[in-house]
């Protein structure tokens, strides 16, 4: 009896661990759309914030800022360079899920996030 009980607990844990893995694997995916997002930056704020996407989407970000200075998208390591008023465009595949910061490279001013859900 004593020996069986610990196996009951281990079995329940194993069911949870394996079942959870299957549920999560089923939930993720579904990206693959093409998105175009126009982002405007004024001062230290960007709108819309956050920019949301699903993993696997192809995103075109058009950033317009009210001042010059390179804007850096962390994680994807993309630099949006340009002067005030320019439309700075990059197209990339959102292959990494997570919360990724956009900030002015000089002074590390945080503007908002790109949130890529699985």
């Amino acid at each position: 009896m004593r020996g069986i009980r610990i196996y009951v607990v281990i079995t329940l844990l194993a069911v949870f661990i394996i079942g959870g893995g299957i549920v999560i694997a089923k939930q993720s995916g579904g990206g693959g759309a093409r998105l175009t997002v126009d982002v405007s930056v004024s001062g230290d704020r960007m709108t819309p914030a956050p920019v949301t996407a699903r993993q696997g989407d192809t995103i075109t970000l058009n950033i317009t800022a009210d001042r010059a200075g390179e804007i850096h998208l962390h994680g994807y390591d993309i630099h949006f360079a340009g002067s005030a008023g320019d439309v700075r465009t990059h197209t990339f595949k959102a292959d990494k899920s997570g919360t990724w910061e956009l900030e002015y490279e000089a002074g590390a001013k945080h503007l908002g996030n790109l949130v890529v859900s699985p």
């Binding site: 549920v23 999560i24 694997a25 230290d44 994680g75 945080h110």
Partner: protein
């Protein structure tokens, strides 16, 4: 809105996590309650008395030989000393403008503070091998334990270590200085001087066991690990055993509020680290700061410091309340401080798994950023290693993987904690009936702690701009 870039999450750096999804939060939470119930009904009062604390362990002569070998001590000590010198030198002399470009930040906050703590829980108390101050002391005294010149007053207990630990948590989470490399380097140097002086004045082991917070911390975490060591008073290893994870927390520990406080501080500082990133904290923080605006710059550290202290006291009061209820229901009023200390230790698995879950992406993504820095640790344009162009891999860090690892870790830690508390209750409360009855408050407390961990992981990560 105020600008705030100095105070970041953790010691430094941003977090890449996504909050866990609501469905996962509910699944994880539901399972925690379910398995707790199963555990209690399956194991209800099966063993009482001293036999409740026995666990299987196997001697490992190979590890004993390794642990006694000079080569291991010298190698471990050398790594520890090089690491410490690395933090001090790159911290003080390296790049200051961007903490993310300074190796000291990674070496302290990611590799030591998150990494070594988790690794020690998994494999064994590595700090006894790596402790740079012990290594320097042993080198200077040629390994002879000199008698202590003075005694630390007995009533101080391990309160000095609790104070140092609180100070370290304050530096990390509240001071806003943790992402300043020169502050990190200078404090590491200062703490080294204090620790070496303490060991000389008060004796090596007395200082390490009672005032050196990291030795106390790794000692507690080492109890969770599967490697059990036995030493004679002079420090020499006499036996090394392997045991199941967590079981070492059932071993005897000196009773006292200082020990309880230390364990509770482990829980509360981790919870505070998560809490400060939640929207709840941001709204509280904003109103507290506007009330304290007369303080100027120090207002932020004051609010956070009070928050950290307040959360610690709340955790302590809640724990004590539940522990008193448990002792009352278990009908075992004598030695209550001993009982409270013993049960505080059963919470360690919950703290440890939350630490691993909370720091998962920190350890898997940001840790890699140290690799290119090694080529040029002082930002002088050197090319010591061909690692300059290294780009971090995001292989293990898909949000779905992270969520999964986090929830599984938290559930497993909870199960271990409930199981340990059940074994401890069998030993403390003598009869099966008392032991079972006493476990209900403890179970509620553990479910509360675990739910708090899950809740924090499910909160959107906020950062003021």
């Amino acid at each position: 809105m105020r600008t705030l870039t100095a105070v970041l999450l953790h010691g430094f750096g941003a977090r890449y996590d996504l909050p866990i999804s609501l469905s996962l939060f509910l699944c994880g939470g539901g399972f925690v309650v379910f398995i707790s119930f199963i555990l209690v009904s399956l194991f209800a009062g099966d063993r009482v008395g001293a036999s409740a604390l026995t666990y299987p362990r196997h001697p490992v002569p190979l590890l004993l030989r390794a642990g006694r070998s000079r080569a291991l001590l010298v190698t471990g000590g050398a790594i520890g000393v090089i690491w410490l010198l690395g933090i001090i030198s790159t911290g003080i002399l390296g790049v200051q403008a961007q903490p993310a470009s300074n190796a000291a930040e990674y070496m302290l906050w990611i590799y030591f503070w998150a990494g070594l703590v988790i690794l020690s829980g998994l494999v064994g108390n590595l700090w006894t091998v790596l402790n740079p101050w012990a290594a320097i002391y042993d080198l200077a005294t040629r390994g002879r334990r000199r008698p202590a010149g003075r005694e630390l007053p007995a009533r101080l207990g391990i309160w000095p270590a609790v104070a140092v630990y609180f100070g370290f948590a304050f530096l990390e989470l509240a001071s806003g200085q943790a992402n300043r490399p020169w502050v990190v380097g200078a404090l590491a140097l200062a703490y080294s001087v204090v620790t070496l002086a303490g060991m000389v004045i008060y004796g090596r082991d007395q200082w390490l066991e009672r005032s050196e917070a990291f030795s106390v911390l790794f000692g507690i975490i080492g109890r969770f690990s599967p490697v059990e060591t036995e030493r004679i008073a002079a420090g020499a290893l006499t036996a090394v055993h392997l045991r199941p994870w967590g079981m070492g927390l059932l071993q005897p520990l000196a009773a006292g509020w200082d020990r309880v406080g230390f364990v509770i501080l482990m829980l509360s500082s981790l919870a505070f680290d998560g809490l400060v990133a939640t929207p709840l904290w941001f709204s509280f923080n904003a109103s507290a700061l506007s009330d304290l605006s007369f303080l100027g710059g120090p207002a932020e550290p004051v609010v956070r410091g009070v928050g950290l202290l307040g959360l610690t006291l709340v955790f302590l009061l809640v724990f004590n309340g539940f522990a008193q209820l448990m002792i009352h229901l278990g009908n075992h009023p004598e030695n209550s401080l001993e009982t409270i200390t013993a049960f505080a230790l059963t919470l360690v698995p919950i703290a440890l798994v939350y630490n691993a879950a909370h720091n998962y992406s920190y350890l898997t993504i940001q840790s890699q950023a140290l690799i290119p820095l090694l080529a040029d640790p002082f930002g002088r344009g050197w090319h010591l290693l061909p690692t300059q162009g290294f780009k971090p891999s995001f292989l293990l860090t898909g949000a779905a993987t992270v969520w999964y690892v986090q929830v599984v870790l938290i559930v497993v830690g909870h199960v271990i904690a409930v199981y340990l508390a059940h074994r401890r209750a069998g030993e403390r409360f003598k009869t099966a009936g008392n032991a079972v009855l006493s476990q209900y408050p403890m179970l509620i407390l553990m479910v509360m702690y675990t739910m708090t961990s899950l809740w924090i992981l499910a909160q959107p990560i906020t950062r003021e701009v």
